[in-house]
């Protein structure tokens, strides 16, 4: 398990490739890798967004993310999990979060990625403040209702 809270730009595919290269002990063992990447869109709630500031609660963030991944490891057979989350100022089009799960079987990789992402959205102490092109800023009030809810009401990534 590797958790990283990153202040700089995140290159998701290069990060996964490098991580996999540096963990040669996994090679030949995993049959299924699932990677989820959350990216900042240009638009949100009808407004053009220039950037966000992602605040978090240092210490609690890492603890909570670790608890989430440990819970996933209890539920599914996982070989490794990499979780990287940006904080600070993030420009539109940039990566916000990366979750990579290596497993023997695909069911575990799919289920665990999804579980980790949902738990993160609802319990990891991150807060987004959006900076609009019109110069104003706003705190996001709630996160999306997630994949379990009706798809039509799923307003966020």
């Amino acid at each position: 398990m590797h958790i990283s809270i990153l202040e700089n730009e995140l290159q998701p595919w290069q990060t996964v490739a490098t991580y996999q290269q540096n963990h040669a002990e996994l090679t030949g063992k995993f049959g299924a890798t699932n990677v989820f990447v959350g990216t900042m869109r240009d638009f949100n709630i009808g407004e053009r967004v220039e950037s966000i500031t992602l605040e978090h609660y240092p210490g609690m963030t890492e603890k909570k993310l670790q608890q989430i991944i440990l819970a996933a490891q209890q539920k599914w057979v996982l070989l490794d999990v990499l979780l990287v989350h940006r904080v600070g100022k993030i420009l539109s089009k940039h990566t916000i979060v990366l979750i990579a799960v290596w497993a023997i079987h695909r069911g575990d990789a799919f289920d665990a990625s999804r579980y980790i992402m949902e738990k993160l959205k609802y319990s990891a102490p991150f807060w987004k403040q959006e900076h609009l092109f019109n110069g104003s800023s706003r705190w996001l009030q709630t996160n999306s209702s997630g994949y379990q809810a009706k798809k039509a009401s799923d307003k966020d990534s």
Partner: protein
């Protein structure tokens, strides 16, 4: 007893403070931490609380040197 209090995100902006230390023998619960720290302000609806980096409810008992945090619903990911 000294208790560290922290605020995040919009709550921090609204209150105009990020952290403070309380010293009061009156405080037994998280709810009382808020009341002593913000005597004239009702705890905003949906506010979440954590003690020592874990979520708790408002009736959770605090002890000396605890770090108590208040913050709005999270919006990461």
């Amino acid at each position: 007893m000294p208790i560290q209090v922290r605020y995040f995100a919009q709550l921090k902006s609204d209150l105009g403070k990020a952290a403070e230390q309380l010293n009061s023998s009156q405080i037994q619960t998280v709810n009382q931490v808020w009341q002593v720290a913000n005597p004239n302000i009702a705890l905003p609806k949906n506010t979440l609380a954590a003690v020592n980096l874990d979520y708790v409810d408002l009736e959770f008992k605090v002890v000396d040197h605890d770090e108590v945090a208040f913050f709005p619903p999270v919006t990461g990911g």
